[in-house]
């Protein structure tokens, strides 16, 4: 589990809450366009839902969702887990994201993803995630690296 040291340079940013996080997500146009809902945050953990939708289909022959929609869900959720772990909305940027697509998402089913922030250093955070459409049957594993930029203007007000 990640340490939960709050560095002094982080405390200047607004504190994280589930309601605040959901409000912030609603102000991200791409997250709204995908209909992603953050369902829970708990320390280094976060869970979100990507509702199945026709416009997100990547293979019209099967109705399987495009990997890109799941990539976006995971990238977003990793940032949510990192902010939840830190406890403050520290400005950040994705530097690296790797997704392994284990099997296609079941057509018609929502994608649930769970991320865990495993380590936060002064400048870098490491997060991993898993996604599924059926319980206990993962469709994707991911790992994501974020750079923290407390010198930047807050992205949340």
């Amino acid at each position: 589990m990640a340490d939960r040291i709050v560095r002094p340079e982080w405390a200047q940013f607004p504190a994280v809450s589930l309601a605040g996080m959901q409000d912030l997500e609603n102000r991200i146009p791409q997250i709204k366009a995908l209909g992603i809902i953050v369902e829970s945050i708990d320390g280094p953990f976060a869970v979100s839902r990507l509702p199945y939708a026709e416009h997100l289909i990547g293979d019209p022959e099967t109705g399987i969702l495009h990997g890109g929609a799941i990539t976006t869900q995971i990238d977003n959720l990793c940032a949510v887990a990192m902010h939840s772990c830190i406890g403050h909305y520290v400005p950040c940027a994705t530097i690296d994201l790797r997704v392994e697509y284990l099997k296609p998402a079941t057509p018609g089913r929502d994608v649930i993803a769970r991320a865990e922030c495993r380590k936060v250093t002064r400048q870098v955070a490491f997060i991993s995630a898993v996604a599924w459409t059926e319980e206990d049957d993962p469709i994707a594993f991911a790992s994501c690296t974020y750079m923290l930029m407390p010198e930047r203007q807050p992205t949340v007000r």
């Binding site: 416009h55 293979d59 019209p60 022959e61 495009h66 890109g68 976006t72 990238d75 697509y101």
Partner: protein, 148 residues
């Protein structure tokens, strides 16, 4: 709307792969267009509000950048006659090099290693200056047999 396999068959005759993109809902959602070149298609994603991930900078959502790179690799494989269907992605690693502004973005893919069943791909995306890519990715795809 034409089916994907009709669109691929037509594209192979006419050389116009836009109808393939248009038959894939998620690629339409991103507003993708493409231009074919001798060394493969260059895909274009217009800057638009709904792909924004950071409205304050503003910047394109990092996930959309990854999705655009993946889509460009898929279109390259279909263009290269490697697949009549949407090839299955195995993994994707995206390096974010610069903040992607909400403007026109371009991407092109190359097949770095072509096996019997697996294609290794490298994809780069840029805005304005191709020598200053905003993101790069490498990915593996499973190649379906052509008769499948």
């Amino acid at each position: 709307m034409t089916t994907l396999s009709d669109a691929v068959a037509n594209a192979r005759k006419s050389g116009d792969y836009q109808s393939v993109i248009d038959s894939i809902p998620y690629m339409r959602f991103l507003g993708l267009t493409l231009q074919t070149h001798a060394d493969g298609p260059i895909c274009h994603m217009p800057g638009s509000e709904h792909i924004t991930g950071n409205p304050i900078l503003p910047a394109i959502h990092g996930g959309v950048v990854g999705a655009f790179l993946e889509s460009t690799a898929i279109m390259h494989l279909i263009w290269a006659h490697e697949s009549r269907h949407v090839p299955k992605i195995i993994n994707l690693t995206v390096e974010y090099l610069r903040s992607a502004r909400v403007i026109d973005t371009y991407a092109q893919a190359v097949i770095t290693k072509h096996g019997r069943r697996i294609a290794n791909m490298r994809i780069e995306a840029w805005q304005g200056d191709r020598a200053r890519p905003v993101a790069a990715a490498h990915a593996h795809f499973l190649l379906p047999s052509e008769d499948a």
